[in-house]
Symmetry: C2
Subunit: 211 residues, 2 copies
DNA sequence: GTCTATACTGAGATAGAC
DNA sequence: GTCTATCTCAGTATAGAC
């Protein structure tokens, strides 16, 4: 009878542990998501651990059972974003050329930001930036993404889809910078343009220029 | 004899006052310049009033004889930058076309930043941004500059020097965004490019695009 | 007006009960 | 593991002596 097995002490114990682990993992995910929202809305400095705890609906002290510091928590958010970005890059339509892939990925990042995501790179000289550079997982993810992008850029330049007179590093950094373009925030605040049009303008301004 | 006039009590008193005023004004200028440096290097949040006082070489309390708050002090820095920008715009070579003026001004802002100036716009959602929007002088200066730029953009679009399919507001915001382009900081940190070349790349990437 | 010393606040992090 | 309560510290701003 299954009853015996269900009431078996060791099995019940194991089930309880698995359940608790799931609870713990779920809560941690909720923390990361709440932090992501606040980070996108208010930025790193303006976001306090009190705010996060309130947003999740738990006590501030409990946050520190999951993450050792505010910096580590923010790093988790950024690592998750980088992982999703790498997945997005891997899943670009197979028949796309390198140049089309880059355009496609830039469009994807704008759509993410419009949907409430945090920009990929923190503002220069911000407290967050220096904190992130100390986090190995973050730096590794960023490096991996940059490798893939650098490869695409090289191919696109060789194919004449990107200007070859610009150093690849410059193109890479510009790509990151455009992904965080504050023009998106300004225009959204203005509110006269619909989102699709805005994204097309941003992508076009990056690759085709203003002239 | 001039001696009598020099030793005249009221004249001597007036001279002392003028001297004290100059001292005061000079100190205030030193404060603004020190703040500008720290703002450019570390950003608004990371810069404390202690840092500023130490940089100037005066007591922290004395800062508050000149500026009522940290925000007001930062606003002074930004207002001064905007004033210099408007002057730069007014003094573009007379024979330049609207498009050439815009290019020229963008190049000027990059050179300013390379020389240690703070970028024109604070990071989105930063504490500084919201503080500045409450300062009337700052907002007025920014509005005046935007008016002039908007006029130039309209003319350049009419002449075919700028794409006319992009909304003028979008071009204006993009111009501001490029003036603060973090690519400049990244590349400078990398250090493989000389400054002149970097500026040309940045200007070209803005107007001509990456493609 | 400038200095030293200090009040006050907000925020990150920790301790101890349950 | 989570909660409440508290510690610690940095940072803005002010008070009072000179």
């Amino acid at each position: 009878m299954p009853v015996t097995e269900l009431s078996d002490p060791t099995t019940a114990e194991a089930a309880r542990i698995r359940f608790r682990d799931r609870q713990f993992a779920a809560r941690e995910q909720a923390i990361v998501e709440a932090t992501h929202r606040l980070l996108a809305q208010h930025g790193y400095d303006a976001m306090s651990m009190d705010d996060i705890a309130a947003e999740v609906g738990i006590a501030k002290g409990s946050l520190y059972r999951h993450f050792p510091s505010k910096e580590a928590l923010a790093a988790s958010v950024m690592v998750e974003l980088l992982e999703r970005s790498r997945t997005a890059l891997r899943t670009t339509p197979a028949h796309f050329s390198p140049g089309q892939r880059l355009r496609w990925l830039l469009r994807w990042t704008f759509e993410q930001r419009l949907a409430g995501s945090v920009p990929h790179l923190p503002a220069t000289n911000s407290a967050l930036q220096t904190a992130l550079l100390a986090h190995k997982v973050y730096v590794d993810q960023l490096f991996a993404l940059s490798e893939s992008l650098g490869e695409l850029i090289g191919q696109a330049q060789a194919l004449g889809e990107l200007r070859a007179d610009l150093p690849p590093t410059f193109v890479l950094y510009s790509f990151y910078a455009r992904a965080c373009d504050p023009t998106l925030d300004f225009m959204r605040a203005g509110g006269t343009l619909n989102d699709d049009q805005l994204v097309e303008y941003l992508v076009s301004a990056c690759f085709d220029g203003l002239k």
